[in-house]
Amino acid sequence: MSATDTPKRSMRTPLGRVRNLGAAHSGTSDFWRQRITGVAMTLLMIPVIVIVMMLLGRNQAGAAQILGSLPIAVILLLFIFASAWHMKIGMQVVIEDYIHNEKLKLVSIMLNNFFSIAVALASTYAILKLSSGV
């Protein structure tokens, strides 16, 4: 059933309905979130580099102690959250640009979501475990 023979009346033209939605069918929200997370990671970059430097050459006990402290855990959690979201959107853009088979595209986007969420949750779990000292 095409849009032209539907009885439903709307003041919006077909072009108006699809404009700005793009290949992701979700409009420009991903574009904006890509920028927010990018800015967030840029701001967090220096603290994150300092944290990694603090851990160099330390054994597990020393590393666990540093990673479990509150400010460091919070900085890393923010960085993990921002990077997982950023990379999920970025990879989706790449998939939409290069994969033209609709089914393969949807499967790829799904796997991209699974990967990004899995990495974020696994990393978050590790930080929380270190913070609780279990």
Partner: protein
Amino acid sequence: MQVYRWTLTMALSIVHRATGIALYAGTLLLAWWLIAAASGPAAYGHVQAFTGSIIGRLIVFGYTWALMHHMLSGIRHFVWDLGYGFKANEREALTWGALIGGIVLTVLIWIVAYAIGGGR
């Protein structure tokens, strides 16, 4: 595609994507490292053995560069998003800045890392 004259900004656009994809895959290493730290000395030892090896160091070095380049190249995109830097000479300057800056920052980070004991 053949009708386009290959430009620096076009090449760096591809590099931005390539480094993004590399960073995407590299998060596995970061997750492995954090999980190992939360698991115990044996697991953490495996990570340290890997990052201490030649191939591990090369991967982490490459990861540092990908991160620094992608960040600077991303800042370049923010400048463009805000509507600045579209003149030919500005475009080129921003792009060279990201390229050279990424390499410089990577080398600086590694010098500091070795200086404070990462080479142990």
